[in-house]
């Protein structure tokens, strides 16, 4: 049986793409058309959303990428190497990220530096929830990425079990260079406006207050429902 496939270059030969963005747009379009997920107007909208960001957004994204304040948050061995990235030799300040903020409200980036134990995991999640959007998380080292060598009763096997992680940096512990590399990757990601779609899976949009219908913004219906149920279950 023959499968009919829509050919891309039926009517007119395509022009050479004028810019990398255009090329990227075509690639995405082609991929989705081949997959057959989207058609017509939806497809156009989709491509526009993925590729075309307004100039303002670009500027803002660039600003966000270049002014990341990490939270002062260390867990274990990796914390020492994380502190090293600030030190004279590695100097993460070059990227504008030396202002480690002690309060999660003022931090943009949570570096999970070390193993996350089952006693600590809820605390970590809470700190993440207390940070303001937009926020990111780097999982530094093998332990927080996957549990590492500690496959036992006390360690959470990978921090993505309970919170969205944007960049994983391997190593045990990773060298400061590795962390800085991961950091620059994160910067590129922010500038490219890539949303890996993890936030929704972890119900991690906005802050804790936001999710619970705090005063400053409106909660989503689902979030409200989920938290109401949770309170009910816990009898609080």
């Amino acid at each position: 049986m023959e499968i009919e496939r829509q050919k891309l270059r039926v009517h007119a030969p395509l022009e050479q793409p004028k810019s990398p963005e255009e090329l990227r747009a075509r690639q995405l379009k082609a991929r989705d058309m081949l997959r057959g997920d989207l058609t017509g107007e939806d497809l156009d909208n989709y491509v526009e959303e993925r590729v075309a960001t307004t100039t303002l957004e670009k500027v803002l994204n660039s600003a966000r990428a270049h002014s990341i304040f990490p939270a002062t948050f260390g867990l274990a061995c990796c914390a020492i190497e994380m502190m090293s990235t600030v030190s004279p030799r590695y100097d993460i300040a070059r990227f504008g990220a030396e202002a480690f903020r002690a309060s999660p409200r003022q931090a943009d980036l949570l570096i999970l530096s070390g193993r996350v134990s089952i006693k600590m995991a809820p605390v970590v999640r809470r700190i993440y929830d207390q940070m303001l959007e937009p926020k990111w998380a780097i999982s530094m080292g093998a332990c927080s990425s996957s549990g590492g060598m500690f496959q036992n009763y006390a360690v959470v096997q990978g921090a993505d079990k309970f919170m969205p992680i944007d960049v994983h940096v391997p190593g045990c512990p990773p060298r400061p260079e590795a962390l800085i590399y991961g950091f620059t990757k994160l910067q590129q990601m922010i500038m490219g406006n890539a949303d890996p779609g993890w936030r929704s899976r972890y119900n991690a949009h906005g802050t804790e207050e936001w999710a619970r219908g705090g005063p400053a913004s409106k909660p989503s219906e689902e979030a409200l429902e989920a938290y109401a149920k949770a309170r009910e279950v816990l009898g609080a």
Binding site: A76, C77, E81, P88, S117, K119, V123, Q130, A154
Partner: protein
């Protein structure tokens, strides 16, 4: 004793919201979802004018994820309870599932600032268990690395302490020098941290050419570095009034609490296992044990700084008198053969294969092996049951024991002094929680 049921019952009660103790449990966390800063829960009790502040587990000055439940009256600490376990990793349990030689990387990650000491405590215990003699060169190399590690650990301590006191510059200078120390580790072992350099029966590899030169340069740099810290801190009036006469506990009380290391020495007790126990090459080396007179924060700082200088002295002696010879024991039953032998000797290959796949068996027995880590007596208890895996590995962590003295040191002091005393205590949470 039906403790199990009790616990279960407590848990149900807590979930029902009827039982409250000062522990914030998972249920409390999620039930309250308070909007405060992490772990902060307060209540004002007008009767006592007390304010219960919860420092940590995420707090910039707790050196990790220590949580302190502090009762304040104004700014004065009235009561203090450390709550630990936030980086409990179950290392001791994991060690039981690994063969003897595979345990080494695990123990390194306990106290992540003194990994060579952890290795030595464990490796020494296993060597005692199997009655293995370590070659002289390996002993000296071990001491060399341990002393470098001591300097590294004290440098991180000094940097973070200075940061807690608000002196930013010292932190950066300390980490500059720390990177230099780590360079030497990288040169001889291939890793900055967690090197797995010590083997059962010796060390993994001989030091490379040029290592001695590098360490000699390092000694010069560190000597200037330490002088810089001294001139930055010792002549700084604010630093002096912040540290002098703060957190004093008598020597007798410290001994009762089991405190060892620089904290005990600062109180005037020259107790140093390197002198007393005389393990490895230490009896052959010449060094002094610095002691303080008052036992306050300043003495602790001075003792550690002087220890760094003494360590430099030891390193210099080692570089001058490093004996020639093998760096790992000949007994191929226990010690991995050097890498180079594998391509020439069939026997070595077989030994290597056997050791790597099934390890070696150890006759039943128990050994407790203490070493002097940068924080005090670091003891490793290994129990063998005849198999190729240890039946129990337990570490007597100096940070864990020393932490008990925190309440004695800080009750009645200001909250700023609490931070300073905690920093001077030098707790490593990885070591405390294991």
């Amino acid at each position: 004793m039906a403790r199990m049921e009790d616990t279960l019952h407590d848990r149900e009660l807590r979930q029902a919201g009827t039982l409250r103790d000062e522990e914030i449990t998972v249920a409390d966390f999620t039930a309250e979802l308070s909007d405060r800063v992490p772990g902060v829960e307060f209540e004002l009790e007008p009767e006592q004018e007390m304010l219960t502040v919860n420092m940590g587990p995420h707090h910039p000055a707790t050196h990790g994820v220590l949580r302190l439940v502090v009762d304040l009256e104004g700014e004065v600490v009235k009561d203090l309870k450390p709550v630990i376990g936030y980086v409990h990793t179950g290392i001791e349990k994991s060690c039981e599932t690994m063969q003897y030689w595979k345990v080494i990387p695990f123990v390194e990650r306990m106290d992540y600032l003194s990994y060579f000491f952890n290795m030595q405590a464990y490796v020494g215990a296993v060597e005692t268990l199997v009655d293995l003699e370590v070659p002289r060169r390996a002993q000296w190399l071990r001491v060399l690395h341990m002393e470098l590690n001591r300097i590294h650990s004290h440098l991180v301590w000094l940097g973070t302490t200075a940061l807690d006191l608000g002196a930013m510059g010292v932190y950066f200078y300390c980490f500059r020098d720390r990177d230099r120390v780590l360079d030497t580790f990288e040169m001889s072992t291939g890793q900055r941290m967690h090197t797995r350099y010590f083997q059962i029966g010796g060390v993994a590899e001989d030091i490379p050419a040029g290592f001695e030169q590098k360490v000699r340069e390092l000694i010069v740099q560190l000597n200037t570095g330490i002088s810089q810290y001294e001139s930055l801190l010792d002549k700084n009036e604010i630093f002096l009034i912040r540290t002098k006469d703060v957190g004093v506990v008598s020597r007798e009380r410290l001994l009762q609490l089991g405190v060892t290391g620089p904290l005990l020495r600062a109180a005037g007790d020259p107790w140093d296992l390197r002198k007393e126990g005389g393990y490895l090459a230490y009896p052959e080396l010449e060094f002094d044990v610095p002691v303080g007179t008052v036992g306050d924060g300043y003495d602790r700082y001075r003792v550690r700084l002087t220890e760094m200088r003494e360590s430099l002295r030891i390193i210099e002696q080692i570089l001058d008198g490093l004996p020639e010879g093998p760096w790992i024991a000949d007994d191929r039953k226990y010690a991995l053969p050097p890498r180079a032998e594998l391509s020439t000797s069939m026997e070595s290959l077989i030994h290597h294969f056997k050791l790597v796949t099934e390890g070696f068996r150890v006759e039943p027995g128990e050994v407790y092996n203490p070493v002097e880590s940068p924080r005090g007596e670091l003891g490793c208890f290994v129990m063998a049951d005849g198999s190729s895996k240890p039946a129990r590995v337990h570490f007597r962590e100096p940070s864990f024991i020393n932490l008990q003295a925190l309440a004695d040191m800080t009750i009645g002091e200001y909250v700023a002094d609490l931070i300073q005393t905690l920093a001077m205590l030098d707790p490593i949470l990885g070591g405390i929680d294991r």
